[in-house]
Amino acid sequence: MRKNNGSKQGAVTAGSGARNGTPAVQLRDVTVVYPGGNVGLDGASVAIDRGEFAFLVGPTGCGKSTFIRLLMRQAQAGRGQALIAGRDIGKLPRSKVPMLRRNIGVVFQDYKLLPNRTIYDNVAYCLQVIGERRSEIRRKVPEALRLVGLTTKLNSYPDELSGGEQQRVSLARAFVNHPPLLLADEPTGNLDPETSVGIMQLLYRMNRTGTTVIVATHDREMVDRMRRRVIQLREGRIVRDQHSGLYLADESTSEFAARLENGVPAAGR
């Protein structure tokens, strides 16, 4: 199992950084409808290359989280296909879902750390799950925690840390495997602007090692400052896809006036 996992990860990272070949993530006309009838995504098509850093932006309920959930196989496409490294994850049998998730690092707005474990054990759990050797765990966990700057609090429990520190732990957890794909759902949603900058810097640093990073956010300041690819969603549709974009598309004064008159609220805050 471990061997299989290793080879798969290797295969994906081998092409990372390159802009050609199969995209790391591809959506083909994906529609996700939740059991209650709510539409998560509505005919979304997009491709994100290996090694790219992309923001998903838009107001709450626009489908950002569904995008992330879809790639984690927490939600399934009702129509269309979602591909990771060229493989249709909708066709993945349920038993293979853990394998998929082992190759995706994930960060949440509410951190989702295990409350009964120390910081060290929280990060180590990810490696224990894939059956990593103990010696490897002892090597990799401090390394990941050093990367996020939390070497002194190994034996603290999550509730003893600040929000920013907890988010850094969850970043360390997401990255300890060196996954080819890293997903972040509102990683700075609960944090103050200064702490957010630190988190974004970490995500950027992880991206520089070749990991594809997709960040869902409505943190306008962060998006504008980073100047990366911006994919804007509205009501489940992709309405803008721009390289080195801003949170909001530049709009002319007349467009702005038209929008105000129609009473359509501005995207974002």
Binding site: Q74, R102, K112, L114, Y125, V129, G131
Partner: protein, 300 residues
């Protein structure tokens, strides 16, 4: 190495999440205790009713002037009748001796009798008390004229105390049905109670389970620690309950059993068997319950 990891995980959960585990522990202890008291009582009661049922027998009284050959022939024909398990010949003198024994200190009255008025008889033991009528029928079939007649001239009378028999039969079968129903309900209640407590304990940790599956843990990787935890809680809950039962047996039941026939009834369940049964049930229900309850939270 894997087992060691899972064991460590479940011990950690027990240590850090003591309250729900303690609730499960207490529930298992109490239900095991109740079952441990109820099962032997039920067994003893069933045994007693069976004993009463088995006392039902048929008596065939022999004519005063029957010859020895006739009596012997009657004996063999009774024994060859269907549903007859045993037929004991009670001679006149033996019948007198039984009467003396029954009278005890007042047996002097018997001495005042002019002779021995008691008839000789066959006591018939049946394979099942419900068959007494059919055996009576074959010893006293209907003749050509439609009237019943005895199969042997040696028979004076056949008694099966019909009224008593029917009463005992209906009463004991009612008791048996009641006891079985009660036992079933009690077992059901115990399982439901334990299952609910385990659900609560797992529910308290559903977020944790969600995170585990999100970082790529397989279902069994998440489940094993829970199952082991259930195993530990169930085993120790059962163990403490069994310990309490043993103390109760040694201090209360054993001294009393000399005086009360019901407690001393030999057919009641053996203590070691009872202990093994209870312990196994407590452990299994707890472990399987933990594993099953988790299923709902693993569908992420």
């Amino acid at each position: 190495m894997r087992l060691g990891f899972f064991l460590k995980e479940s011990l950690r959960a027990l240590r850090r999440n003591a309250a729900p585990s303690l609730a499960a522990f207490a529930t298992i202890l109490i239900t095991t205790l109740v079952l441990g008291v109820f099962i032997p009582v039920m067994r003893a009661a069933t045994a007693k009713t069976n004993e009463v049922r088995n006392k039902i027998e048929l008596e065939v009284f022999v004519h005063e002037d029957a010859t020895n050959a006739e009596v012997a022939k009657l004996g063999s024909s009774i024994r060859s009748t269907a549903h007859v398990e045993r037929a004991d010949y009670i001679s006149k003198s033996e019948a007198l001796r039984i009467l003396r024994n029954r009278l005890g200190t007042k047996s002097d009255i018997v001495n005042d009798l002019p002779g021995n008025p008691l008839p000789a008889s066959y006591r018939i033991k049946l394979d099942d008390p419900g068959n007494s009528d059919s055996v009576k029928g074959s010893l006293q079939p209907l003749g050509a004229n439609g009237k019943p007649h005895f199969i042997s001239p040696a028979i004076d009378e056949i008694k099966n105390r019909e009224d008593d028999t029917n009463k005992i039969l209906s009463a004991t079968s009612t008791i048996k049905i009641l006891l079985a129903g009660l036992a079933g309900l009690l077992v059901l209640a115990s399982v439901l109670l334990v299952a609910n407590t385990i659900r609560l304990s797992v529910f308290a940790r559903r977020r944790e389970v969600e995170v585990m599956t999100l970082v790529g843990a397989t279902n069994w990787f998440v489940r094993w620690p829970f199952v082991i935890e259930g195993l530990i809680v169930g085993f120790f809950g059962g163990l403490v309950a069994v310990g309490l039962l043993w103390v109760a047996k040694a201090t209360v039941v054993d001294p009393l059993s000399d005086r009360f026939a019901l407690i001393a009834a030999p057919q009641t369940i053996q203590f070691t068997l009872l202990v093994a049964l209870l312990l196994a049930a407590a452990t299994a229900v707890s472990a399987i319950g933990s594993g099953l309850t988790l299923r709902r939270f693993l569908r992420v």
